[in-house]
């Protein structure tokens, strides 16, 4: 039987091991981003922006040019790159502490200006790199090192739903939330990413895809359990779906219906 390659590393993914913990879904998200870059044939003109957080070394994991940004500032750096070189395909890769806490101003204004860039937002409801502190996305009651009794919404507020927030902006955009805790979710997530990058390549609009992600290390549970935790605790609060498209004049959130890709 002749040999044939059925599975290989995307060209846009560097041939190195990542520094992510076992069971963390950053690796899945990296792969999906790389596959989409390859499929669109834009690797040679793609520039990524690494955040401060677990993905700080993302510049080592993709085979593209990269910028490493200050904490939360990736959307501003992306703006600078895209305005300087509109021919480049620019994506910012950010975690929830980076994007939803210290970088809230940068992400909202980048989206509101309608910068033709793509933001990949990985939300694992905790600060991973610094050792498991409470994030703006930490679930009510969820234990973290800076809320040892669980997040108290009376003093820390409720988890911020970034996708919903970005979707309220009038500027046309593609805004979606996905997850990667099951193969089916990952397939749907890739479709969202493909749309997001395509909107940028076509010069249509700002695009933003949130990925609900796991952090077995700082959540203190095995990877499989962490995937269940996403399904049970995060998905009900952070509904999956396309919330905004550039075509839709409708500003109201439009959660994806069951069966919709």
């Amino acid at each position: 039987m002749p040999e044939s390659v059925v599975f290989e590393r995307p060209e846009a993914l560097a041939p190195v091991s990542t520094t992510y913990c076992p069971g963390c879904t950053h690796g899945v998200v990296h792969r999906l981003v790389a596959e989409v870059i390859d499929e669109l044939g834009v690797r040679e003109r793609t520039v990524g922006i690494a955040p401060v957080g677990c993905a700080v070394f993302a510049y080592n994991f993709f085979s593209t040019d990269f910028h490493q940004a200050a904490h939360g500032r990736a959307p501003a750096v992306a703006t600078g790159i895209k305005r300087a070189r509109p021919d480049l395909v620019v994506f910012a890769y950010q975690g929830d502490g980076d994007l939803a806490s210290i970088g809230m101003a940068e992400i909202l204004h980048c989206a509101n200006r309608g910068e033709k860039v793509t933001v990949v937002f990985v939300n694992n409801a905790i600060y991973g790199m610094t050792g498991g502190q409470m994030a703006p996305t930490t679930m009510p009651g969820q234990v973290a090192t800076t809320c040892p009794l669980g997040r108290d919404v009376a003093t820390a507020g409720h988890p911020i739903r970034v996708v919903e927030l970005v979707s309220t902006l009038r500027t046309p955009a593609f805004v979606a939330r996905t997850a990667v805790h099951t193969p089916l979710h990952a397939l749907r997530a890739k479709e969202m990413l493909r749309r997001a990058f395509r909107y940028q390549v076509e010069g249509t609009c700002f695009s933003f895809v949130e990925f609900l992600s796991t952090c077995p290390t700082n959540w203190g549970m095995p990877p499989a359990e962490a995937c269940d935790w996403v399904e049970k605790n995060m998905v009900p609060y952070y509904p999956l779906g396309v919330f905004k498209t550039p075509e839709g004049a409708d500003r109201a959130p439009r959660p994806l219906r069951a069966g919709e890709a």
Binding site: R43, Y59, H67, T79, R83, A84, H109
Partner: protein, 360 residues
């Protein structure tokens, strides 16, 4: 190009365009709003891009991204806004990005006031942001010099792959003077192509990664040594100053920069007419500081007078230069108050007057 009557802020903007800069990212703050305003109408005329950022934090990080893409880019702000940019400036220095940042200083600390000051000297020349880094800092004393220095700043930034700061005060930004833009100017040094810029990786060079993160301490130490070697090269090759009357012996050497030097020079014209031997040294590069020139000039004077619109910041560098060889005195105003020629003249005359020496 014929001379044009222009406001300092506008001349700074036009100089940047003449230097080939087509990107400006900024945020409004008094007293430098005429720079972003000028760029917002002028850049589209030359195919450039103006972006009003949501904050100085964002503006400076946009600069980081644009500079990392290999394009000439600049921003301007005033003291409180510059403080907000310090994070990105440290990253630019660490990542070796060429950018030009204009600080039209206003009085501080805190929100302070909107009137001219030189209170950001230490911030500009001794770091400002975190880590061991330096900016190349140039201080103009006229609108013409502001325009010339802005054009040079882009070349220096590219040559050293380092942020360059133009440190002016509110007077430089707001006053109108005739200015001429040199159309025949060429960089003083040959500028290498920006092969390090992140412009998309096609495999024909190593991947470009704009980065200041080095977790391995040995690697980070080497990186710091590389930066320091660059600052030493600046100290060797980029000192700039102007002097008048320092050739011979004198009673008082005045050391002042920016518009204060301008005020001092009119004070000195009167004094010389009255037989007071006063000389002046005006540092133009504040980093690298012309320590040796100040020391040489001070040795020909009986006393040194430092004049600043601050509580005495450059004063520290003059003392370092003089190393106790001569008494160093200070005359300053703060809060947006200006030094007058009469005030400076009176202080010089006082220092120049012969004194009784006690031999107790």
């Amino acid at each position: 190009m014929a001379k044009k009557l222009m406001k300092g802020c506008e001349a700074i903007g036009e100089a940047a365009i003449q230097a080939g800069c087509r990107l400006f990212f900024g945020y409004p703050i008094t007293p430098q709003n005429e720079i972003p305003e000028y760029m917002s109408h002028r850049l589209p005329q030359v195919g450039g891009t103006f972006v009003q950022a949501e904050s100085e934090v964002a503006a400076s990080n946009m600069l980081y991204g644009a500079a990392g893409s290999g394009e000439r880019v600049f921003t301007s702000s005033s003291s409180p806004g510059i403080s907000l940019m310090m994070e990105a400036i440290s990253y630019m220095a660490g990542s070796e990005l060429p950018t030009v940042i204009v600080n039209i200083m206003r009085a501080g600390p805190g929100l302070g006031g909107i009137l001219p000051s030189q209170g950001d000297y230490l911030q500009a020349t001794k770091g400002g942001g975190h880590g061991d880094y330096r900016l190349l800092v140039l201080a103009p004393w006229s609108v013409q010099e502001a325009a010339d220095l802005v054009q040079d700043a882009f070349d220096l930034a590219d040559f050293y792959r380092n942020p360059v700061m133009i440190l002016g005060d509110g007077l430089i930004g707001q006053m109108m003077e005739p200015v001429e833009f040199r159309t025949d100017r060429k960089p003083r040094k040959e500028l290498a192509p920006k092969t390090w810029a992140a412009t998309g990786w096609k495999g024909d060079r190593p991947r470009a990664i704009i980065n200041s993160l080095f977790l391995d301490p040995e690697v980070l130490e080497r990186h710091n040594h590389k930066l320091q070697a660059k600052y030493e090269a600046m100290a060797r090759d980029e000192q700039r100053w102007a002097e008048s009357g320092v050739a011979g012996e004198c009673d008082v050497l005045v050391v002042a920069y920016g518009t204060v030097a301008r005020v001092a020079s009119s004070a000195m014209e009167d004094l010389r007419a009255h037989g007071v031997r006063a000389a002046m040294l005006r540092p133009i590069s504040l980093f690298p500081y012309p320590y040796e020139a100040v020391r040489r000039a001070a040795e020909r004077a009986r006393a040194v007078l430092v004049c600043e619109l601050s509580c005495g910041q450059m004063l520290e560098d003059v003392r370092l230069a003089v190393e106790g060889r001569r008494p160093v005195h200070f005359l300053g105003r703060q809060g947006g108050m200006l030094l007058t020629p009469e005030e400076i003249a009176a202080r010089i005359a006082e220092l120049a007057a012969p004194r009784e020496v006690s031999h107790a």
